[in-house]
Symmetry: D3
């Protein structure tokens, strides 16, 4: 498979083209959907703790707002690109559409490794990002949320910055805030819980027995851990889990409740009692009934 084909924008466009063709839609529908209606690219100057100024590149892509305000997370990652942000915003339109939500798709990103920033620097970057996009977001326009490497604290800074600029408390501008600050209960666990439920339903449709299924989960961040935990609680057997440090395997199933405690203590799934080490590559090519991908996109290619 060629390098080109992993460009998420091209993948997203192909998916839309296929869907339009299957639905027999006129050409102009594809034309309208193949690119976001609006993408803002910004430079965010941040004063670092040592007094110097660094400038970070950020994006906010709004794909289509025909059915309501756009909605989508903000990603802080050194590999963020314009095309990735565009593609993610396009997928958000379709995610909202298939479940009938009155929202369009959006996505944002900043090219930064947040682990290299102090807490104060991260706050200044988060506030600077909102300042730069403030004119195109709002409860009626576009509603950001957390994504890779952004969390409730960052959302709280962002809402506070938005409030300072508009001059009043507007919690509806961003979701994923801390509970005390107007956040939604259950939000943290929701994505992983949804993945687990969907896996159960998919298995049902394939007329397999969920309780007899073996599962592997790639990634053990917010999404991965709640996916594994809920698959486990729903009765599936988790035989393998991995994170950025490596993977673990137990053919008789891993006790995910205990694994969570282990990760809280050690920071990684590695070396969890009663499991053997595997590589991430081994996990991806393992013979399991359910393979849950909860890391970054483009993990399954012709090379696997």
């Amino acid at each position: 498979m060629s390098k080109e084909s992993l460009n998420p924008l091209i993948i997203a466009q192909k998916q839309i083209k296929n869907a339009c063709d299957l639905l027999g839609l006129e050409e102009s529908v594809y034309e309208l959907l193949k690119e976001p209606m609006r993408v803002l690219e910004i430079s965010i100057p941040v004063q670092m703790d040592d007094g110097t100024v660094k400038v970070f590149k950020g994006y906010r892509s709004q794909h289509n707002d025909a059915l309501g305000p756009t909605k989508g997370g903000i990603r802080f990652h050194p590999d963020v690109t314009l095309d990735e942000v565009k593609a993610l915003s396009m997928w958000m339109t379709f995610k909202c559409g298939v479940v009938g939500l009155p929202y369009g798709g959006a996505k944002g990103g900043v090219v930064v490794n947040p682990k290299e920033l102090s807490n104060d620097e991260l706050q200044r970057l988060s506030r600077g990002y909102i300042r730069a996009i403030v004119s195109i977001i709002g409860p009626n326009k576009d509603i950001p949320a957390p994504d890779v490497n952004t969390n409730m604290q960052i959302m709280a800074w962002m809402v506070d910055e938005y409030n300072k600029i508009v001059g009043y408390n507007s919690p509806a501008v961003i979701t994923g805030k801390p509970l005390i600050y107007g956040g939604s209960k259950g939000r943290t666990a929701a994505t992983g819980y949804g993945v687990a439920l969907m896996a159960r339903e998919a298995v049902k449709r394939l007329q397999m027995d969920f309780k007899n299924c073996t599962s592997a989960v790639q990634g053990f961040g917010n999404v991965g851990s709640y996916t594994a935990l809920n698959l486990h609680r729903l009765g599936a057997k988790i035989v393998a889990v991995s994170d950025v440090y490596g993977g673990i395997y137990n053919k008789d199933g891993i006790d995910v409740e205990k694994l969570v405690e282990h990760v809280n203590k050690t920071g990684t799934v590695c070396n969890f009692e009663g499991t053997t080490s595997i590589t991430n590559e081994e996990l991806l090519t393992m013979d399991v009934d359910i393979l849950a991908l909860a890391a970054l996109e483009n993990q399954i290619t012709s090379a696997n």
Copy 2:
């Protein structure tokens, strides 16, 4: 010379880097200036005369507004790219700065060959472009103007669209309007007149005699024709002129007043009485004292 080095953004960044280094400025100044503070990328759906809808990609780049609202033209051209628009907006900052105007730099562009559009389609595209960028322009924010392939009529449509959206007559939002609609006298001739004056001053500094200088002018659109005309009127000898159809040459000088009449009649400089045909390439490598480039950027490379 490699392909890469003709990317206008990279060229502009190198120029800024050199300037910062020469001025001994701290690193953060270059960091702030090396990218525009804000670039909006938009999709513009346009209903064509045959009832179908085409979607055009457009950009508006605002480099830096520290000294005032940003300012810069809008280009309609099939070769418009994000990097080109960014670079052109950066150069606008410096053009304004060196003459002490309280403006920053901006530039816009639409990927379109306007010659393939009917007048009505062009109007709808122009209005659609303004609708898509309306929230980031305005007399206090960013003031567009004509550029390659956009003219007074297009500016009039754009101002009218802006007025309709904000709800009142706001002529200050765009320059380059028709005179009757609030345009500035002399604007059409201004760029070419400035090029001619600058050439005269440059020649003076080199202690050459302007009246004895030979000149060649590449391009005979708005800028090129007024450059040639004013060089001629100021006393220089124009020996060669070219446009997209070809070039003409007369070692004793071309009567530019008459050439203008010829172009008005025939649409090209070619076949002007008393001149011989040359290629554009010949013009660029000709031995003249003054070579005025009034077409697109990147004409002079190591290949010439």
Copy 3:
């Protein structure tokens, strides 16, 4: 009855005067209610398909907003007048008031025969109307809706135009949109269903037996057809129906379900199997228990 007395504004003013007198209200209440608080009269230039420009006159009348934003339809009809639009807006205030809705009354109209316009011209007129009244409408100010000769498609164009001007998706600005675009379920059938229910309740109060009542319905558009259908479904006997092309009669009752199919096929109630032809005038003076008027106002005069 004199011509004057059919002026809807004068009729509405007399009704308000009577009501104020009956309620013993002070003079100033009538003074406040006898005219709308605000009427906007506008000229709407529309580019026709042949390139010429026609200018249409439009109105938007807002009678009184003491209890909430004003609300009322937009009528496209060649006979629209300032006084009619005013009167209709006044009646809307009272319609909302008697059922306790937190809305005031409004109404709009354009002097045009929409059947003489192409679909594209109709779209441009609809968008032009919204552009011209945009500053006085909005979810908190005044909320238009369909009326005579305007439908869901026209509402969709109008909402889209409003959204483009305010810069975000604001479906609450207009009701009567297509379902997929945020419209309300059941809206199309609602008016006629309400007329039928009200007829049943009126008959009850008169201590007549609804099942034994004979009905005639003038008009078979949106309101008339659902009125007839629901009277029929609720058990009343429909003996006569008319539309702009003529009327039909069957003393034993018309099967309205089948009549709807007939109209969908032929475009008129005329020539429906098992009925005899009557004139509209005959229908209006027929001896029936329930006479439902679902065409335009002023059908019952001293002349009938």
Copy 4:
């Protein structure tokens, strides 16, 4: 001459039609100009000194803003009609246009006899009028001014009301304010001075000798008195003057400087020493070289 033909709107439309025909303009230009782009009709409730509430009808007509914000006076008069206000706004467009001012035409009016109101009631009416039209006026939109029966004090109340609503001091919203409040020097005398200058120039073009011309001035309000005074100062002989109470005549010329003092003392031109009484009708049909009309419109008809 029929009654109809005195309708100012029909007169104005005929003038525009004639002008368009003479200029050979396409039909759509006349279509665009024959009606104002926007007319707001409002009801203004005013608490009277005795505690009751009266409701006054007011208008603001904006004819065309293609060349800049619209501009025009506000008239308080019992005979104000929708058609009159429309026509006056149309004439303002052309008055601005012929002298090259970047303004369009507007006009406002309230149906009221201000002489029947106390000062406090007049203030409340003036403020109520501005509240009702505030969304369509402003320095960039439409700039009112005094007209028949409105003066500097009324403009001051109106500006103050506007300022209170927008939240800051915005003197540019209305012209004709008191000097101390940002008014223009010379404004009061300007209209009459202009009439006198124009008369002098007209006489010149007719190759008559201005110093030998006899003049009659109908009206001695703001416009009439300054017209007479300036004609007098420029050397013309004023033989007749009238106001609402009657007229005066002196074949050898009236000393207007002294007449002004007389009017300041007695409130009327009548009984001015050295003159004989005439009727207004006699003045209008008198044999003079210059007849200045400074009362209301439609004084010269086929009946004179």
Copy 5:
């Protein structure tokens, strides 16, 4: 107890300090909470019925909006001070917080004895107050309500003034409006009802028998009367009640239903049949199980 210690601001600050210390919060939390984030002090010119102008001083204090728009009443009283308004706004933050409402605290006041104003003057003052604070209130910012000496009628004037300025009907800006104008059912009785319920719960926690409790209520305005009425209805024995004119006592209990009728007729609790007169001071030091204070603050001091 020194005079100083009755300053409500100092009392409120001590309470916050104590709470912060008990909770072990860092110093900056107290720093943030010890003063309102924003206090507006305004001068309100009011035209009196005799034509003169008086200027009243008003305040609006907004303590903290971290959890939502601020909320709190407007007090008209000659003893209103900056410090009192600040303290009351701080207490509102905590009142909202302890019951989990998404509101912060605010309070307003005008230094005026409303009993010395006519109804018209009171209306003009109420409207003037809103004009002066309009930029800092709104459904998303700060939502006023009635307090001492302000009622539903005053709230209606204030909402109407707010609506006039923003240009549309916005009932959500102020609570405590008349029911017909969008007010909440039960609001008038709510505070007193809450006091009675809380007394019952407090008694329960102290393991006393509510039905055997004796109560005294200071004040018989809105809060006091509904407190007494509800204590009575819930079964407690009211032995003493007072208002600004004096107090009444009956050791066997007062029939509050009848007392309300008495007050409606006579305007005071004094001379209610079957009771003996007491002073306010006697009421405050009386031996009762429940003492409800429903007058102004600072009634209980070391002096009692």
Copy 6:
């Protein structure tokens, strides 16, 4: 003289009362002018360099905007009080009025000793102050400027913060900016130059000879140094100068040009060659023709 009488608000009110009485104005004029129309009191949380948060109290007083936007400096000083800020804003109204500027008076202040803050903390405080008052300032509303302890750098931070919030470059919001950032030439020297010119004119009116006058200048900051320098340049003899560290004296006159150099080097006027030391008190009671006070207010009391 009693303490009370040094309260600047009471002093300012007395001055206005005297002026109103002398002018025979009606009582309501004094009522309107005796207090500012609007004062905002704010709490400004600032993150200190050590991570803690301090909260500073700030004020912005706007006295009267009848003649235009209000205007006045921002003072950073530990002794700032509400009454002082009010009084200073009142004096600004009269300063603007006596020279006919279309501005009203305003003043702001923060209770802080800026010398105890780092440069970063000062920047955060300055930005926080603007955030807190942003809704009541602007080129049309109220235009701040430097005052005691605030300078061009602080104004630049404030303008930048304002620009960030409103979303575009708005240099007109604050005066006293650095030249490169849109500041006015000559602003720094203007106040002192004005004092010197006024002294010369005052001396002229007293029919004294300016060249023979002796002068003493209290204070050698921005105002004092330019006052001394310009008195010197205009020909007066400066015999004494003081600053916070002490005073200097030379009966034959001090060379102020050289004194400025001395101060630039040493930071104080003390120990300037050729002068003898004096106390500030001696300077104030010295026998000179011109005594210029360029420190804080209330230097001349009955105690001197």
